[in-house]
Symmetry: D2
Subunit: 309 residues, 4 copies
């Protein structure tokens, strides 16, 4: 099986059309992809100085781009995640001054004094994450997913910190083993980028950082020709899901629900206003992140309510 | 057991300190409360003209105020919901022009043509809701809750359509049997209002209307003296929950998470920045509504991660 | 001329239908209205402890309600401001922790340490305001206006700190001598409330406080029968203006521009999409406040571009 | 004098570090820059089909990048606009379905029917713009400015439709003759892009389109070594100005005011909290756009209030 990763120093900090592919994949192929953690695997101690390690814009390194043979503008790329393995015995989380959901940031600018930086290492063993050795709480189940996955826009190169219509840094825990991600193809080869593994994450990722891990994932790449998705979709056994990324957060929710309604109309024959009224009774929502350059919201339609005839 | 409801024509369309109590309750007392549906039980046909039935501000009639003996400013009122019974064999949902999550509204003003009005009746039987007789989908489990519950502010009278620090129209499905709601007391007697029963609701209540029902609920009222909650809290067997209501939606999420972090610090001894970092790993979020005068977000901390020692 | 004010201790902290009128005025009548400053005239020293003086919700006392004879739901109340006199030789501004445009607030909740409180007295003489005796800058012209003016909603009592469709705490410097304010009438007598005089204010009122003053104003009250305004309007020699108050700020701007476009269509015969396209070339906007419970935006159409034939 | 423009077909639709410079300029040099209009000069009739002419992402073509000799990361680029000449005898505005301030868009997604497309040509002569030959209104003064001006980020390539910390599509009418723009330098040579001339524009550019024109501008390029601006600044005889671009709009206003306060502290010695309180009394605000990918707000400090000693 092809093992894909970037050379040290050659990871990507944007998702765009300007970087030469690091690998080529055929539709239908299953590959292994290796990723660094969001801090480039540079934190190995709670004493690490996070303000020195984060040297913007060189944060959240991505593996890629991966060129998918035959992909053209107007197609949809599918990524079926078979598994995600954690390749280190600990995860990292931290508090980053001027970043996070409950502090002033470069966008929500305030004159208040900053919060202090702080780093925690979270041991991982036996499919469990230990939050802290000082605080006696139950272990957190290991539920790995990719915080960042996306395809190149046509002319833009978008920071690996930013989610959007192209995917990107959505921090949606539904991008996990067992699920299939649908992404728009805007350029020849699609140019897929992946990274930002999380061993565990709360909805909203409120402090801005999950349990960050390097990963080795097994993915099956597919292509739906002449089929356009306006924003990322995820399908699981249980749910049809659409992801909206925008600010303010209600715009992210609007994008997600609009695309979910359109999906129900186009592929399942539920007239759009009926689908809208039905979603109001049965849909589920995950707040994926409330901290990134755009917020991400996942609208979910339980497949058990799809028409039976 | 005391049965509390308002006289016909005397329901309340605001939550405030200006209306005489319809009942007085002792702390510790269990009472039955009867509520009308959000349309005052006036819709009995899919042909109903919703644009005539909704005569603002006379929408979402509330039962109350209920005076709780001994409640004073600075206390917290608790409402433990024992059960909610549906008192009609159908629920109602509808599309209301210029109201909802995916259309122009009086706040998000647009020049686009309006969506059409539409009314559906949803039969309820055997603890199930039938969405439509035209669309063959699985029945929806009956999971009743109160869309609106709140206590009077000190000088404001807030529309029954608006959620806020006082509770109100939060449309949070966690306000359901088995859970206990904590509300601030701002005036003598607390002045509790309840209504807006929902038989089922999707997260976000995206079209603006759930499966609206009249109810008969059994509630146990309690009082925590000299204990202040800044925004509504809900406790279940599984979760500590805080509800933020604001616009834009990220401010609702910030309020909810801020209060959750403070709750963890004050009552469970987890220092606030540690609680913040922990929530980023394990919290859950429910988007309660994306359609009301303020949006409501529920931040949830799983009690299994509370300190064991 | 009738001189209208409230008894000490009887000022209003809400705009609503529940308080008995303090005066009755005939349409066409000119009256004098006296108002306290937003801090109830309680600050007379830079050493004042603002955190003790502000005892929510008892802030921003309003004069009123004033009953306008013959006003009924569906009419429009007009208030032509003849003059506003400052009745003290200084104004007050301050920094209030957790309130303002560049700090965490009760809505935009953050864990950062608060900003310190601070009070300044600004001497007023010869139609000029002296910002500070320590900082040598040019005097600021005295340009008094009412920060708060509004009419009672039908069932709500809205905090005097909140702007909205009823007017209220808009902090729009266009509510000044020479201009006429149009407000909706929702209840018999309209029930007009006025207060929150400002001697000077920057656009946006960024720290949350202007140069706060008590005032004596001369106003001519009028009534337009059977004429509905959805949100406050202001007319000057130069501009047609509409005020939107909402969060997020773009919603405030949408409300204001929507109403401006509708005004141009309804009363000046410019078809709405043409008016929309025209506003995109010639409109002006004032950001009135970025700090209150809702933000307020004034959309302005220069009357020199009204159709000449 | 050097005349700078791009070859036909070679204009840029992003602001980024990936395109080879079209010209090199020395600090202190005055150059002529020629730009196309936002629709690539392709509209010459009110019957043009705007939905065909706009083929995203190929909209708003920019001249550049221009390499400024000696510019390095950590410097500030200054662009003093001497003049902007309109190089066509008409401007163009239009209504674009799903784009604008008063309609559903790709961000604020709604299910409402779209507004119709519409194109207007606006004759320009004698320093005046004629809005319409059908509507008899006063001519609009010709007040040309650049809607888009910016410098390359370090790794991102940002759509020419998007404003941000790098400048870009701010639609700020203060980017006009007589004023000097300060932009961050993030890469060697700064890589300056310019375009999107407007003959006139209302605040907020509410329908999404101004009076769009091709231009020939005369600019003097300067460099401030080792001086960082976090977001674009503009200086005129009358004002110090800072431009914030973000969503929601209040975040744009926060960025602008934060940088204005910091400017007053750093370069004029007014302690930041005093500057904050002073801005609350005397600042002015321009709403630049309420329609682009990010909204832009200009905070303005009148220089007559700068310390005299």
């Amino acid at each position: 099986m092809q093992i894909i990763t970037n050379e040290p120093g050659d990871f990507s900090y944007v998702i765009g059309p300007y970087k030469a592919p690091v690998a080529t994949v055929q539709p239908g192929e299953t590959v292994i992809v290796e990723t660094l953690d969001a801090f480039e695997n540079r934190i190995d101690s709670p004493d690490a100085d996070i303000t020195k390690i984060i040297t913007l814009p060189y944060v959240n390194p991505l593996t890629g781009p991966i060129y998918i043979d035959g992909a053209e503008k107007g197609d949809t790329l599918t990524v079926a995640i078979q598994s995600i393995e954690v390749t280190r015995d600990y995860g990292v989380s931290c508090l980053i001054p001027e970043f996070g959901g409950l502090c002033g940031t470069v966008f929500t600018r305030t004159l208040n004094p900053s919060l202090p930086p702080r780093v925690m290492l979270h041991p991982i063993a036996n499919n469990e994450v230990t939050f802290s050795q000082d605080l006696d709480i139950a272990p957190i189940p290991l539920e790995p997913f990719y915080g960042t996955i996306g395809t190149a826009p046509e002319v833009e190169a978008i920071s690996s910190l930013t989610p959007g219509f192209h995917g990107g840094n959505m921090d949606a825990a539904d991008v996990c083993p067992g699920n299939t991600i649908h992404l728009p193809v805007n350029v020849p080869g699609a140019l897929l980028y992946i990274g930002d593994g999380h061993a565990a994450q709360g909805d909203g990722e409120v402090c801005g950082v999950a349990t960050e891990i390097p990963t080795r994932g097994t993915l099956t790449i597919g292509l739906i020709k002449r089929h356009v998705v306006a924003t990322p979709r995820v399908e699981s056994d249980e749910f049809l899901m659409t992801i909206g990324s925008a600010r303010p957060m209600e715009d992210a929710a609007r994008i997600a629900f609009y695309e979910l309604v359109m999906w129900l109309e186009t592929e399942y024959g539920i007239e759009r206003l009926t689908a809208y009224q039905l979603c109001s009774q049965v849909a589920r929502v995950r707040l994926a992140n409330m901290v990134d350059v755009q917020y991400s919201v996942v609208a979910k339609f339980p497949k058990r309510y799809l028409p039976r005839s």
